[in-house]
Symmetry: C2
Subunit: 351 residues, 2 copies
């Protein structure tokens, strides 16, 4: 076993962020020794408190430091005392854009023992990976407002999509699909209405698909996709979609796969020109912060994705298996606190 040191940035953030991150790090610490990994950790004080203190969300100097890291673990940002969007855009989206996280990787998987709001579905029915584009679409912030506050106000938002951006995320999706047993890739879009962007996605799917004859492809409108997520989730294996549609369907995916407390994600820069960032899909949930009620599982599964990203696949599988076993056990023994869940999973992986 070769030993290796990894520079890890930690952004606990707001609300339940610090609590769930603590458990994620606990599991990382537990799994690391036997994998020959050590982490050189730097914690970054970013989020609501800093904004209140200094007005900063993600200062350039901090961003420059983050670029020197190998990976980032983020808890959650956002707080009712900060105007909606300030931290989300100033910190989270800024990091995704500046660090070129063009793949937003979001598995949607029902683990054994987890209860889903859907009647009669089994773990075989819900097992997909959503590849959400992360650096363009309606998330660019392009747009504006004229005559604000008057009855003649016009507010626009622009979705910007480029061949460069669409091609690279679709190629990544084909790679993921090719590595999965079903080898099936569905493009989710709304090409009958968003014709320019939809057409670019469709043409690119076709072109890149020629290089992956082993992968079957399908297309599904986003509205129909939400319907199939609840009525026939087994339709989907790998999904590629734009930034906004991906945001929407992965929250829905989290809900059908047992809740937002379990949904992990990676903001991935596959070219490794900057660090990738792993985070639970859930938000900062200020209403339950500090009460030990937050489920750290999504963060722990994000740690597993982080491990995969740095090439520690064995450790990643161990964390996933530990989570899976813990979830099955939880179904039997009932609810536990944030720390108890972290402890239990850490114990399993350190064995």
């Amino acid at each position: 076993m070769v030993s290796r040191s990894v520079r890890l940035a930690v952004i606990p953030g707001d609300g339940i962020g610090p609590e769930v991150v603590a458990e994620g790090l606990k599991v990382l610490d537990a799994v690391s020794p036997s994998s020959g990994l050590t982490f050189e950790r730097t914690s970054y004080d970013l989020g609501a408190a800093r904004w209140h203190r200094t007005g900063e969300t993600l200062p350039d100097a901090v961003l420059d430091e983050l670029r020197q890291q190998e990976v980032i673990l983020l808890g959650a940002v956002g707080d009712p005392t900060v105007p909606s969007g300030t931290l989300e855009r100033g910190l989270l989206l800024r990091a995704r854009f500046e660090l070129d996280h063009y793949v937003n990787l979001r598995p949607v998987k029902l683990f054994p023992g987890v209860s889903t709001p859907l009647a009669g579905v089994t773990t075989d029915d819900i097992d997909m990976v959503v590849i959400r584009e992360g650096t363009e679409g309606p998330y660019t912030g392009v747009g504006g407002v004229v005559r604000k506050g008057t009855q003649h106000e016009v507010a626009t938002q622009e979705s910007v999509n480029t061949a460069y951006g669409v091609e690279r995320v679709i190629r990544y999706a084909f790679e993921v699909a090719a590595g999965r047993p079903r080898k099936h890739l569905t493009l989710v879009h709304k090409d009958n209405v968003l014709t320019f962007a939809g057409d670019l996605y469709q043409r690119t799917l076709k072109q890149v698909g020629e290089e992956y004859p082993q992968v079957t492809t399908a297309y599904c409108h986003v509205d129909a996709a939400t319907m199939f997520f609840v009525s026939q989730p087994q339709r989907f294996d790998t999904i590629v979609t734009d930034n906004l549609f991906g945001d929407i369907i992965t929250d829905l995916g989290a809900a059908v796969a047992g809740g937002i407390g379990l949904a992990a994600s990676g903001n991935v820069n596959p070219d490794r020109t900057a660090p990738s960032m792993f985070e639970p899909v859930h938000g900062s949930a200020p209403d339950i912060a500090g009460q030990g009620k937050a489920d750290p599982t999504a963060t722990i599964l994000s740690v597993a994705m982080l491990l995969d990203h740095i090439g520690a696949a064995d450790a990643a599988r161990r964390v996933e298996r530990a989570v899976s076993d813990d979830l099955a056990e939880r179904a039997a023994v009932g609810e536990r606190s944030t720390t108890q869940i972290g402890d239990a999973i850490a114990k399993r992986v350190s064995g």
Copy 2:
């Protein structure tokens, strides 16, 4: 009882459109006499066949004729032999925009006896009305493409939102909310990312809300809304949202309320400067066309909405009750064909 004649345009469309429209008209014919209504019907041959024959989707001359009608009943348009979007935009969206259907009214209601994919929810849990903006947002068609087909292609889509457009749909939503027992209105948007449009919606909600102190309001991000649709649908009573978000959440709403075969909608021009258009939410479903498998219930419920729009509330309630009774009966006797369902409901309302 005053007798009244109503000019009704019928656009059967493609796929299962003509089949479900036939049943809708059957029910309309059955309920009309005892309500003192007669319909002066004109059928319009629009859809895939006409496009193949003439290249036309909704010619100006036909649009002018439609403007002279009082209401429109539409089945479904779209066909795999026609490029995606051609009929949807050229016919359906063109009608919505030209006839100023700024309210797209979509009830999401679980009827007794109908099975939902959600475990453990009752008819009390799913009973909402979604008011989707119908004439702006990302549906304007604004946008374009440069360097098409090259690796430098850029494709844009613009969401256009105006104070004029947002105010009128939000005002309508408050009116609907005020008339419902719970009097609760939720704005669904994504204001932390689509800041210009989201801010316009938020400010308008607040302003117009001052005139409706009896209505409580809430805000929910669209991604979270999809989650709540499956995990806590009882959160919602009346929803107001933009054109694209409304498209997405009402398909999901249809799925949780028992399927797309039951979801009705109205494209409403509340100012009555042009005819409103009623249609099932579902598409043309070419795969099951002509087999008597299509469920005409969504069209029949759209006919009930049409009756409400023309002021025939009693007739509307009778159709709704008949549908509700029929659905409860269907749960007992099992599946029936398109015609059988239409016959059964027609029989109930003609009594």
